[in-house]
């Protein structure tokens, strides 16, 4: 059985919002990394909307941390998470990743903070 994960992009001034629909696990994480890498190469900030992620495995959370570190090393742009689902929130809490991941309640807040920065 192949799991489905879909992505959509919303253009904001200086920022692209990536909406994720589906689980993030070992099968789908590579596609997620490709999407984020593509956006980073455009030289824009990134907001990842994780509201429609029903399940996230260690590979998925590893992929998110890798994206955050890539943006952090690049220093030109930033990445924020928005509207994380309960499944994602549980893992972030479990691993105490709040210190390393910028998380907002919704896309607008995330975009505003990026614009202000």
């Amino acid at each position: 059985m192949n799991k489905e994960v879909k992505f959509s992009r919303v253009e904001r001034p200086g920022t692209i919002v990536l909406r994720v629909y589906g689980p993030l696990d070992a099968s789908t994480s590579p596609r997620f990394l490709d999407e984020c890498g593509d956006i980073q190469s455009l030289g824009k900030n990134l907001v990842i909307n994780l509201a429609e992620v029903p399940f996230i495995a260690s590979s998925g959370i590893g992929a998110i941390m890798a994206v955050a570190d890539a943006y952090h090393e690049g220093q030109l742009n930033s990445v924020r998470l928005a509207a994380v689902s309960p499944a994602v929130s549980m893992v972030v809490d479990l691993l105490s990743l709040h210190e390393f991941l910028e998380i907002d309640d919704n896309e607008d807040d995330a975009c505003s903070k990026l614009k202000a920065a």
């Binding site: 799991k3 495995a57 590979s59 959370i61 570190d69 309960p86 549980m90 691993l95």
Partner: protein, 690 residues
């Protein structure tokens, strides 16, 4: 480190004693001058003897013929004179003076006699013989040769040649016979005389010829002395004084060849001296390099610090060391100096000495490397730099603080999930740039070495080893593969496997750079710790088969989607609140994903089983993949960026945070894993409080 005793220099050849005769000096020589003079004399003698023999033979024949002709003529003249004399009354008055005159003029004539028909002497040089009967010499034989137109007759014996001619009047009446006798000895005397004369000439020629030959040979062979002196100088090792000989003959050519040979010997001797000097320097450098390395592995607590170095033909500047600091921590270092030979070794010696001194001053590895950079910058020539990795390990906590100055990345094998991390560095090599700018690139990093972990550090001689075609380097990926394969067996296995892999890669090609390896290995936790609950695996399986809810899963990641609906179908689990259910699902998913990825390596043809035993509120998983023995769990420190970036190992960390896990690897039933969810594990503190 035990070193094999060095072979001493080869024994020098025994010095030649003054005055000792060599094989050549004991031989006797004959001068070419004497040989050539003697040969010339012998040749001239033989030639002149042959010519003299031929001349003598011809002379004897000619003189005999001449004598015979003259005798015949004289006999005829005597007969003609006798014919008129015999008609007179006193023939002796005519014939006697005539005979006397002939004998006086020709002493070689033995007798001149005219004989009457009755055999009485009527004319002779001696008057008393007149009237006596003529007795012819004995044993006269006719001489074979005759002279045309002559009436004379020749007779001869061993001592005389006798010519006779008839004395006749006009009417042919015989009046007697005229005889002229000639002594053969006269001819022999003439020939002997000529021979003696010839021998005198021969002696004169030999004397002159021999002297001339000797003088000429002396003149021609005079350059031999110069050539000989030159050869003897070369034999004594004096190659700088040439053979000065301006000679147009082959000796001049030989002298030129000697001078050329002498020059080439000078060059060869200089090259040999240089080669021996370099060889000595190389031995010295290798000796120094070996003396800087630890003589044995270091053990501290559960840690083993080991290393190995294989020196290339050309000595490099590789270095590694491990030693205990005053506070009980262990310092480890590995370095590669850009520069080879004795110079590289000298720099390595400085690095070693400075490292030992600074290690008790600077607790921070980056500070120590910065101090090294500052000190070395004032000592090393430009374009000489050092790559170096330095770390301090606390054997009690397993914490390793490290910094790297442009050295190869460290590779860390994680026992708990079998992964290999590369600890990259961003520091610049020491002394690459001056003015303490290197210091600003250095920083400390830390990582915890867990039970069973193995950290590998190498110099570039390892990853840059070329294949036999010289087309491809060994590379970091192959180093990582070897580490991942051999690390579960410990430090020795890694050293052995890496050496074998490099030998196989390089085959018979010699290595051109030192291969240096440093290993830090922490002992794995005993397996007994994993099975400490005292429950027999067979009983667990029997209980699961009797009362568990089973799920068969294919060993592929997509098949794990079946976990969630199966969990929803379990009565006890379906009563969990949403967050607890998610936690349970996540823990079970991560554990099964670990089995699929590492136990079966994603081979979907295999199946494994999951049971839920409600009475014990745990899951039991049986698989037949590769047994998996994780290290004791310690929460991952996500403050460490290396931990965040590695992308592996998070799964088991999540599992351990959510549940209690026990592993029973390689039982008769298979690999058994027990997963017991922790109560409230996934709840926030606020939820727990409520």
């Amino acid at each position: 480190m035990n070193r094999s005793p060095e072979a001493g220099p080869p024994a020098a050849p025994a010095a030649r004693q003054p005055g000792a005769k060599t094989a050549s000096s004991s031989r006797r020589y004959v001068s070419l001058r004497w040989i050539m003079a003697g040969a010339t004399c012998a040749l001239m003698t033989a030639l002149m003897m042959a010519l003299g023999f031929l001349a003598e033979r011809n002379l004897r024949r000619v003189m005999t013929a001449e004598t015979e002709a003259r005798l015949s003529l004289q006999a005829q003249n005597l007969a003609l004179a006798g014919s008129s004399a015999l008609l007179s009354d006193f023939p002796e008055l005519t014939l006697n003076p005539m005979a006397k005159t002939m004998i006086e003029r020709q002493p070689e004539i033995a007798f001149v006699t005219v004989v009457s028909p009755d055999g009485r002497i009527v004319g002779d040089a001696e008057l008393q013989r007149i009237g006596q009967r003529f007795v012819a010499p004995a044993a006269l034989e006719p001489e074979g040769r005759s002279h045309p137109g002559s009436r004379a007759r020749l007779l001869a014996n061993r001592t005389l040649i006798v010519a006779s001619a008839p004395v006749q009047v006009v009417n042919g009446r015989s009046l007697g016979t005229a005889y002229v006798g000639y002594r053969r000895g006269h001819i022999d005397e003439q020939v002997d005389h000529m021979r003696r004369t010839g021998l005198l000439w021969l002696a004169a020629f030999l004397l002159v010829g021999g002297l001339a030959t000797y003088v000429m040979m002396w003149r021609f062979l005079r350059p031999i002395q110069a050539v000989r002196a030159g050869i003897e100088r070369i034999g004594r090792g004096d190659f700088h004084q040439p053979v000065l000989l301006d000679d147009p003959t082959e000796f001049g050519m030989l002298a030129d060849a000697l001078n050329t040979m002498s020059w080439e010997l000078t060059v060869a001797r200089d090259n040999l001296v240089e080669t021996e000097r370099l060889s000595h320097e190389m031995e010295l450098a290798q000796s120094i390099q070996q003396s800087l390395l630890p003589s044995a592995r270091l053990r501290s607590g559960a840690f083993t610090f080991d290393g190995a170095q294989r020196a290339a033909t050309e000595v490099g500047g590789d270095y590694f060391d491990s030693f205990e600091l005053p506070d009980g921590r262990i310092a480890v270092a590995i370095a590669d100096v850009a520069g080879k030979g004795l110079g590289g070794c000298m720099v390595t010696s400085m690095v070693s000495a400075l490292l030992k001194a600074y290690s008790v001053i600077h607790s921070s590895p980056s500070d120590l490397l910065g101090a090294l950079d500052h000190c070395l910058a004032g000592l090393l020539p430009r374009a000489t730099f050092v790559t170096m990795f330095y770390a301090v390990v606390d054997p009690g906590s397993g914490e390793m603080v490290y910094a790297s100055a442009g050295h190869n990345p460290s590779m860390l094998y994680r026992r708990r999930d079998g992964s290999v991390l590369r600890l990259n560095n961003h520091g610049a090599p020491l002394c690459l740039v001056r003015g303490d700018r290197v210091r600003r690139t250095l920083s400390d990093s830390s990582i915890r070495l867990e039970p069973g972990d193995v950290l590998l550090q190498t110099t570039d001689g390892v990853n840059e080893a070329f294949d036999p075609l010289g087309a491809e380097q060994f590379g970091f990926d192959r180093v990582e593969e070897v580490l991942q394969r051999a690390a579960p067996e410990g430090a020795d296995a890694v050293l052995t496997a890496l050496r074998k892999a490099l030998d196989d890669w390089r085959q018979s090609e010699p290595f051109t750079d030192d291969e240096t390896v440093l290993i830090i290995a922490r002992d794995p936790a005993p397996v007994d710790e994993v099975r400490s609950d005292g429950e027999a695996p067979a009983a667990l399986v029997a209980e699961a088969l009797a009362s568990g809810h089973a799920l068969r899963l294919r060993a592929e990641l997509d098949a794990l989607d079946g976990l969630e609906p199966w969990l929803h179908g379990l009565p006890e689990v379906s009563e969990f609140d949403e967050r607890s259910f998610r936690a349970l699902h996540l823990a079970l998913y991560e554990l099964c994903a670990n089995i699929v990825e590492h136990g079966y390596r994603n081979q979907s043809a295999e199946d494994f089983m999951v049971w839920w035993i409600a009475s014990r509120r745990h899951f039991l998983i049986i698989d037949c993949g590769t047994p998996f023995v994780p290290a004791p769990w310690l929460p991952a420190d996500y403050a460490n960026p290396e931990i965040r970036r590695r992308g592996r190992g998070h799964g088991l960390d999540i599992v351990h945070r959510l549940a209690s896990v026990k592993f029973y690897p390689a039982t008769p039933e298979g690999n058994i894993t027990l997963l017991t969810p922790r109560e409230h594990a996934a709840r926030t503190p606020e939820e727990v409080a409520q």
